[in-house]
């Protein structure tokens, strides 16, 4: 029953949209209609235009995500385990975190130029903050007893990182990664707004310039599918590395 409702409700909305467009209640030049969008979708798909632009964006998001997540996890663990590192780094993180990442894009463009690096770096920065903060919170949230057990069993610095901090913080690290993925999708559109020649975000702005509303909707739907796909990948990875968190 619940599944039926979950499928029926968006279908109903699409039908209403189509009906409103057909009956002239909405201006199809601005709001388009499901059938018009579907009509625009196939040529974009068949010409390879859509796939190419999606691929370009997927690569940027993936590299930016990795470039932000790995330093975020490493620094977050150090901050969680060492009060010294935490005292040294936390003020800088706290001071720079509230700056909207979009606000520093012009600076990033000046530093890294118009190429791929500036786009990847923009995404990396956004992902980094969310991952570093969540990872640190995850390590700090580990029950002290587990650190004492490790100490009692003669753990080296490496052992503290690999056998306590990392596995103990993994649930929070994944929470950070999922937030980071959401942020990456926001930033990819912004990054492709300026100085890009391809990408889903670039498609949106091209559609804006050409007043091609259908193409804009196709790109928006692609973004939604991308977001869903990335969250599936992260969920799958989470199940793989967190067997102890299931069925609990």
């Amino acid at each position: 029953m619940k599944t039926v409702i979950s499928i029926l409700s968006p279908l109903t909305l699409l039908l209403l949209w189509e009906a409103a467009a057909f009956l002239g209640f909405i201006d199809t030049r601005l709001f388009s209609s499901p059938l018009n969008i579907l009509q625009a979708f196939f040529p974009l798909l068949l010409s390879g235009d859509l796939l190419y632009n999606t691929w370009v964006s997927v690569l940027r998001v993936t590299w930016g995500f990795i470039a932000g997540a790995i330093p975020g996890i490493l620094l977050g663990m150090s901050m969680g385990l060492s009060p010294l590192v935490r005292s040294a780094v936390e003020p800088m993180i706290a001071a720079t975190y509230p700056i909207p990442k979009l606000a520093i894009m012009p600076l990033i463009l000046l530093i890294f130029g118009l190429g791929e690096t500036s786009k990847i770096f923009t995404i990396a920065i956004g992902v980094f903050y969310l991952v570093v903060i969540n990872t640190m919170a995850g390590v700090l949230g580990i029950d002290k007893i587990y650190l004492e057990v490790a100490k009692n069993f003669g753990a080296s610095r490496k052992d503290f990182y690999l056998t306590v901090a990392l596995p103990g913080a993994l649930p929070m690290i994944f929470a950070g990664l999922k937030l980071g993925m959401g942020m990456a999708l926001i930033l990819i559109v912004a990054a492709e707004m300026s100085a890009a020649k391809a990408g889903v975000g670039w498609m949106i702005w091209r559609a804006y310039d050409m007043f091609d509303i259908e193409q804009m909707f196709v790109a928006l739907i692609t973004l939604s599918v991308l977001g869903y796909f990335f969250s599936l990948v992260l969920d799958w990875m989470e199940r793989l590395v967190l067997p102890w968190k299931q069925t609990s």
Binding site: E148, D159, T163, P167, L170
Partner: protein, 265 residues
């Protein structure tokens, strides 16, 4: 002392904390010699510093004064392994990896450490649960894993901080009997903290009664009950009751002292 050689010698151990109201002496003048292979229990009123003493032995805390000598029989064994009072097995490791944890840190190859861990998991009767995660286990099973983890590490001395304190009585009696059985096989020097006089009598060779704040040695009672022991039948013996009475009367003064201090506050 009923032992040929000393396993652990504590010389003049003292511990002072710095708190907001000034210096607080938690432990003072503790001089004990624990025999090699002895099961040694510590009882005392709450707040007497018995856990602090064990933590000093475990290397998790440092003593302000004094020294500890542990008789090292084999150089490649760890000095001590602790069984904690609270749930302390890693939630992210299954039973097998939890029991093998100490061996892993010591760099023992996976095949060998799994073989050793499997032996102790069999001893505690959890073979069917070797690949289960802690959230799938009951409280008693978790403490069994914790005990197996300490034994599997094969330390010179075992330290136990009220390991069965949080368990229900039926589970506790079963685990006490199992601990006795495993300990009798390994004959490891064991320091066991408990608030239960009964538990200290059932398990130990000697019982140290500590004074209330600051903690120090009040009395050491020889538990001359025969081994191997059956916990159920040992309790009905005359000697058990005599020893219980003796320890309680010694402890009672200290407990009352704590109570009157609490009332003054």
């Amino acid at each position: 002392m009923p032992y040929d050689s000393a396993g652990i010698v504590l010389n003049n151990i003292g511990k002072t904390f710095l708190s907001s109201s000034g210096q607080v002496t938690a432990l003072t003048d503790i001089n004990i010699s624990i025999g090699d292979g002895e099961f040694f229990s510590i009882v005392g009123p709450s707040g007497c510093g018995k856990t602090t003493l064990l933590r000093i032995l475990a290397g998790l805390d440092t003593a302000t004064t004094g020294t500890i000598d542990v008789n090292i029989i084999s150089g490649d064994r760890p000095i001590n392994s602790m069984v904690f009072q609270e749930q302390s097995i890693f939630p992210w490791l299954n039973v097998l990896d939890n029991v093998a944890y100490g061996l892993k840190l010591r760099g023992i190859a996976q095949k060998e450490r799994y073989a050793i861990a499997a032996k102790y998991i069999r001893m505690i009767g959890l073979s069917r649960f070797a690949s289960a995660y802690p959230h799938q286990l009951s409280g008693g099973m978790k403490q069994r894993v914790s005990v197996a983890r300490a034994f599997a590490n094969d330390p010179e001395i075992l330290l136990m901080d009220e390991p069965f304190g949080a368990l229900d009585e039926q589970t506790r009696i079963i685990l006490q009997q199992e601990l006795l059985r495993i300990w009798e096989l390994s004959k490891k020097t064991t320091v066991f903290i408990t608030h239960s006089i009964d538990e200290s009598l059932c398990l130990s060779d000697r019982v140290l009664v500590m004074t209330a704040h600051p903690g120090t040695v009040k009395a050491i009672v020889d538990v001359d009950l025969p081994r191997p022991r059956d916990i159920a039948s040992i309790r009905t013996t005359h000697r058990y009751n005599e020893l219980f009475q003796r320890i309680w009367l010694t402890l009672r003064e200290e407990v009352l002292k704590v109570k009157s201090l609490e009332l003054e506050k």
